[in-house]
Subunit: 349 residues, 2 copies
């Protein structure tokens, strides 16, 4: 099928670009001896996870138990779940996964560690736990090397658990000092920090500058989007994921309305101007959205699109866009080569 036969709005991935993005980051991380553990929250598609593994990734990262369940079911055998798993039902699901897949999780509190230990006791395997620390991302994570060392000792002393390293997001120039100080504190306990897991796509080509980091988790790099282009880590031409829309109204000389709005592109602005870049009309500005309509200002365009014309949009944030679609079309030189269900979208937390 040719891409022009698909009904709009649809999300398509250029397979040549996808493959190049996967190979490019793998090559760079290999050159620097950093293990690659891509984050699948961007694509949520088992086939793409397998492509990443085949290119050389040591395993994958997931952000939800439900994602890990889908990926384990699809044969992925090494999964880091970068999330505090809390509550009896989720802990049981985690242990069920850990029995058949190499699972590791993160924790940033005594509460999380005690829950993991209670669930893991009596299991045949020890559950691998990394301590999450905050390098300025101001999300989760212990706040100081003292806290990191204390939580490491607790994990080490907890039945059913094995301390497996440190994790942060995003990694940056605060990462090395934090890791070194923590390592120093743990020396007296005979505890080694073997794995230091860093992450992020905007900073991916600087991963080697944090010399303590042993593995890198990037997600968005497979598809690319306007946010990553603005960061300088990818070019517009590297972006593999696009959303094709149709102009459904031209109510005024300078306004076009597209058949995709906040339920297609999400409302993520990420400090960008507008909701996407229209490849055919780069001067057009996607200035507003309603749920099923994109509002475009054409006043800066010399030529202007007509009603019925198809426009190809690079979105602000590919991760939330792929989460809104039930399927993504893999396209090569205009032909639809494969249609992937976004298998892990809508999965339980």
């Amino acid at each position: 099928m040719h891409i022009d036969e698909l009904e709009t709005p649809f999300a398509a991935v250029d397979l040549d670009k996808l493959e190049a993005n996967i190979a490019g980051l793998q090559r760079y991380l290999d050159e620097h001896g950093i293990r690659n553990r891509p984050h699948i929250k961007t694509h949520k598609i088992p086939e793409i996870a397998h492509m990443q593994i085949e290119a050389g990734a040591v395993g994958i990262s997931c952000q939800k138990l439900g994602e890990a369940e889908v990926m384990a079911e699809a044969g992925i055998r090494d999964i880091l779940l970068t999330y505090n798993i809390i509550g009896e039902a989720k802990l049981q699901r985690l242990m069920s996964l850990a029995r058949r897949t190499r699972m590791s999780v993160t924790a940033d509190s005594e509460f999380t560690v005690r829950g993991l230990s209670a669930a893991a006791q009596g299991e045949k395997i020890e559950l691998a736990v990394l301590v999450e620390f905050d390098c300025g991302g101001q999300r989760c994570g212990v706040q100081s090397p003292q806290e990191a060392a204390a939580l490491t000792r607790l994990i080490n002393a907890s039945a059913g658990l094995r301390f497996s390293g440190l994790m942060t997001f995003p990694s940056n120039d605060q990462t090395d000092p934090f890791v070194r100080e923590t390592r120093e504190m743990l020396k007296g306990d005979g505890l080694e920090v073997e794995c230091v897991s860093g992450g992020g796509t905007p900073n991916m080509w600087q991963a080697h500058t944090a010399t303590e980091v042993t593995e890198h988790r990037a997600g968005t790099y497979v598809y690319g989007d306007r946010h990553i282009v603005k960061s300088g880590a990818m070019s517009l031409d590297d972006c593999a994921l696009t959303v094709t829309t149709t102009v459904v109204s031209r109510p005024t000389a300078d306004r076009a309305i597209l058949d995709g709005g906040s339920k297609t592109f999400s409302s993520d602005l990420l400090d960008l101007d507008g909701y996407g870049t229209i490849i055919e009309y780069p001067e057009a500005r996607m200035y507003a959205q309603s749920e099923e309509h994109g509002h475009v200002d054409l006043s800066a365009c010399k030529d202007k699109p007509q009603i019925g014309e198809r426009l190809t949009v690079i979105p602000n944030h590919c991760c939330v866009v792929s989460n809104l679609f039930n399927q993504i079309h893999g396209v090569r030189r205009g032909r639809v080569e494969v249609t992937w269900p976004v298998a892990a979208r809508g999965a339980l937390q």
Copy 2:
């Protein structure tokens, strides 16, 4: 099952409030002789559409062909599709629907009308078409009564089509003058404007002040959200849809992290402060989100939630939240009475 047994994050609808919201708007519109045609884009659930019809709605409104297909399949027999339907594949789907369901659509351009007419020719039924006009919403819609009259004449002269009235969103104090001027222009042609379809939830209790409006399309009123509360049309206590989350991290004295972020709540801000109101801690501020984490500032809270605690959130915009969930739980006094698949989410445009 008790609501406390559900894994977080989950979306729940208080059935008492849902029923009261459906009955309340119906009563008001009945009192004023305005036909009620609720917009199902908010809930996308056939069972709720049937509740609205049973309460007295004349039919429903949809924003996507795919929504209309799901609703027709579920036995809804009168559907207004408030969208310019463009392209051969969509026109064929529309005609297929129109053969088995009372369908009407809107158009705001000659291009749309010509496409509808080409598809409808040779069909046994005439397709009902309303002219969409712009009352200041600045989305789709013809810009002047002159344009509205011209498009009406074109519809009237087009094989397979029947002019069925005027449609706008949202209706406001510009609606009556626009309709009257258009009506005046069409008198000489012997064309009557029978239906005038207005819409919106923030303005729903003022629907009777636009005396030309014969039917009203409100969507958000079934659930309610922070945006509607700010508009004054509903109270926080009227809001039927909530998202229950768990505190998964308390990295600092004033920061809590919830297990729901932009893939749970969307990024819609709608000029509100933060991403939701936490019922148990109304002073808490949901100041930021990552994809699976909500970032909460607790500095204004006297008591502060602990890790593992469940928090109930009223979101900014219920329509985009329900679009992110695969199912919604109907709850009455703490008991899960029904679990509805969000059947029309992810449907084709």
